[in-house]
């Protein structure tokens, strides 16, 4: 049976079709989920895609977090369903308190779009099993509010528990604390990532194909489960 991975569309989601493409290239069946629909349509995992849901007004992710579909996703995530939030999706996960911390305005005060080198720090989450710890990859990064912040003891705890999934290498593009590009919850099923692995899945359109691993990882996780 094909693995079904849901991709949520909020009003203002932009990279939803890109996430669906990445899911398809990884070998799973992408399922479009609508923000107003509480039903997850039997998906095995969920991607919250990038974009500017609700225009990023008020705070990024703050309005989407209260959509009907998120009620179900929050419930299922707590029961162990793999959830990946990319960029705006990461912001939604933080606003939902599935992940700690918050994402704030880049220290440059500018939107930045660049090919970003990352180091995978934790290769044991549902979304990173196809990588090895310490592996370096290049994927696009594009955000205006991607600076991860949290208070000191939360950062220490994330470090101590190995919950930093990826860090920026060479350049910290937005001033993220401790060069954090992505984190996970304690169970390892919920991952938030500021860079865009779904834009590094084809040699024609991306700087590499090194983003595909996030999507193949969850497939293996689900098949083995």
């Amino acid at each position: 049976m094909t693995t079904r991975v849901g991709v949520v569309t909020f009003p203002g989601s932009l990279d939803d079709r890109d996430a669906q493409r990445a899911v398809r290239l990884a070998g799973a069946e992408p399922v479009a989920l609508w923000h107003r629909d509480k039903d997850l349509h039997q998906v095995d995992a969920v991607v919250l895609p990038g974009g500017f849901s609700y225009g990023d007004y008020l705070r990024c992710g703050a309005i989407s977090r209260f959509s009907p579909v998120m009620d179900t996703i929050i419930e299922q995530a707590k029961l162990g369903m793999p959830v990946l939030g990319i960029c705006n999706g990461f912001q939604v996960l933080c606003e939902s308190h599935l992940l700690p911390g918050a994402l704030t305005r880049n220290d440059s005060l500018h939107f930045v779009c660049r090919d970003q080198k990352l180091r995978i720090e934790n290769a044991e989450t549902a979304w990173t099993r196809d990588y090895s710890a310490g592996q370096e990859i290049v994927v696009p990064l594009k955000n205006g509010e991607g600076r991860f912040v949290a208070d000191g003891h939360v950062l220490d705890q994330l470090e101590a528990e190995g919950r930093i999934v990826a860090r920026y290498l060479d350049v910290n593009p937005n001033g993220s604390y401790r060069d954090i590009a992505g984190i996970t919850n304690a169970a390892g099923n919920v991952v938030g990532l500021m860079p865009h692995p779904e834009h590094a899945v084809e040699p024609l359109t991306g700087p590499s194909t090194e983003g595909l691993g996030f999507f193949t990882s969850v497939l293996k996780q689900l098949v083995n489960a």
């Binding site: 203002g12 990279d15 493409r21 500017f52």
Partner: protein, 751 residues
Amino acid sequence: MTLDTVKNAEQTPEAEQPWSELGLKADEYAKIREILGRRPTGAELAMYSVMWSEHCSYKSSKVHLKQFGEKKPDSDAMLVGIGENAGVVDVGQGYAVTFKVESHNHPSYIEPYQGAATGIGGIVRDILAMGARPVAVMDPLRFGAADHPDTRRVLPGIVAGIGGYGNCLGLPNIGGEVVFDSCYQGNPLVNALCVGVMKHEDIHLAQASGTGNKVILYGARTGGDGIGGVSVLASETFDATGPAKRPAVQVGDPFQEKLLIESTLEIFAEKLVLGIQDLGGAGLSCATSELASAGSGGMRIELDTVPLRDNTLSPEEILMSESQERMCAIVEPGKVARFLEICEKWDVIATVIGEVTEGERLEIFWHGELVVDVPPRSVAHDGPTYNRPYARPSWQDALQADAPTAERLLRPSTGEELKAALLAVAGSPNQASKSWITDQYDRYVIGNTVLATPEDSGMIRIDEETNLGVSVATDGNGRFTKLDPYTGAQLALAEAYRNVAAGGAKPLAVSDCLNFGSPEDPDVMWQFAEATRGLADACLVLGTPVTGGNVSLYNQTGDTAIHPTPVVAVLGVIDDVTRRTPIGFAEEGQLVYLLGDTADELGGSAWSQVAHNHLGGLPPKVDLERERLLGDILIAASRDGMIDAAHDLSDGGLAQALVESCLKGGNGARLIVPTGLDPFVFLFSESAGRAIVSIPRSEELRFNDMCGARGLPATRIGVVDGDSLEIQGQFTVSLAELTDAHTGVIEALLA
């Protein structure tokens, strides 16, 4: 406040009207009275004044623009031509592509962020209104001197506005231009281009037909945006207590626009609309009169049903409002419910505001009273036409005589001097890397971007199965056009054509944004006449019809006009985007060839500006047959895998092209100056019809045979190698030095 109804206008023929304050001339006002057989109501006067303005009616330019139709080359690709919101081109496999470039110059000077943002919003809605999904944007920009204090205000605001709006909309920004010149100090040029893709059967037109069909206004509520001029009516004619406070600046809401795009595409997919028009300049006045005029003619609008953001707006102001993110659709009664349902799904407000009627009158009611009763064609299409006087400027001969010859302008002669000149050009604001700007734009979203800035063209995949794609390049050189408007406009087209071909795509069609000074100045009008004549002639030779575009006049400060700046966008098609040719020298050992002929042509060149701040002489000569041949060779070589890199030669000549190809590919090159060519001319001439390519050694013979058989001069000038750029016998410069010179320039000036 009394309502100026049609009945009232009939009864008070002698009432004073502020036609002059609204920008109408006495004979234009008389013509309106003649058309209506009475004085216009306030609302009618507002409609005519704005629709007959230069901006909406093209009254000064249209006698010249008609050449684009008269000299139109035969092209099987044209599906929809000039006159609609945007032209539509057949790109094969059942796909059609629409694209258009438009200006938003003046608003962007007043309020850079919102001016630029709403410029993107407007062009995107034009493309959407054709039935297409917008897939990419580009923005050709012109600013004052890079080191002028006001450029620090204008440029970051405009760039943030383009990024803020375009990024939030989810459209990749794949190219454009950034040019600095003090002539644009009080008049920055903010041009915006959008490309959209659809299937042939999805093409929609702006027309209202079928009695009883409903007129639906959807999108944002209507506020008092951009109606400063019309407030005159509200104050002087109807309201003695003074004008209402009306914002001159329009604020864009990209989130609303994103919802408008998604809802509209869903509405198209279910075939719910018969005609559609976006609301841009002149708002509802324009949309209703154009829809009715292009359709059967009759339309009835209940203006009081328009959802408002500000309940104090008068009917005139509602008609004139330029509130953003609104569309107007013509829908059969049986499909209205489903239309409204889709809008509700996307949180988009949609309201039936009227219907198509029998007859040929546009009738607009305000709480049951008739305030507008006009033949729509007289508003939308029968505006005045001016034959403005024009004459070759008295200073043109002296300008052309001031040629940058070796005797008049000191040229670098030693290797060290040539190296210094190369670094100076590569590090000048116009030639330096624009990454500080373009990194503020999302180039990845939608996942189909094959090429983007700093490549020669932006290229988008439109079919993931077949790899069909399109590419677009925009070019324009105000310095060349100032020296010779006819040739300058042709050079803009030639360069954009060459850029598209260099990427491997076949050029198909043109859109243009003609930025000029005041048409009331005969010097400027001559520049305009010459540039349009040059462009139309060149389009005929190259077989690329003009599909649409925009004219922006009155770009001047006091009596001083900007350089005449026709910006030309060329759209091309490529059957297999995996065969595209990038600019970077990526493979060591490949051979570097110079295609075309190099002459001593430095008039208007980047070197003459950087080294001597000089503008004089003649621009490079144009040979359009050569451009076409060069294009054919570049496309064939790309398709057949004979070249791995190609870069057009333009501003800064060979020197600049080498710098860019080396830095992009991360490899150096060793070059020799061909015998008989002066090293300075070799490096810095801006002769047109040239490109450099890098060729795998295994393909050299085949490539040479092809060029020889077709008669294109191809000269082997070197090899991709090492980590420095070496001009043998002259100088060597390391990639590190080039990087230092070429990058960080813009941020140092502006950040």
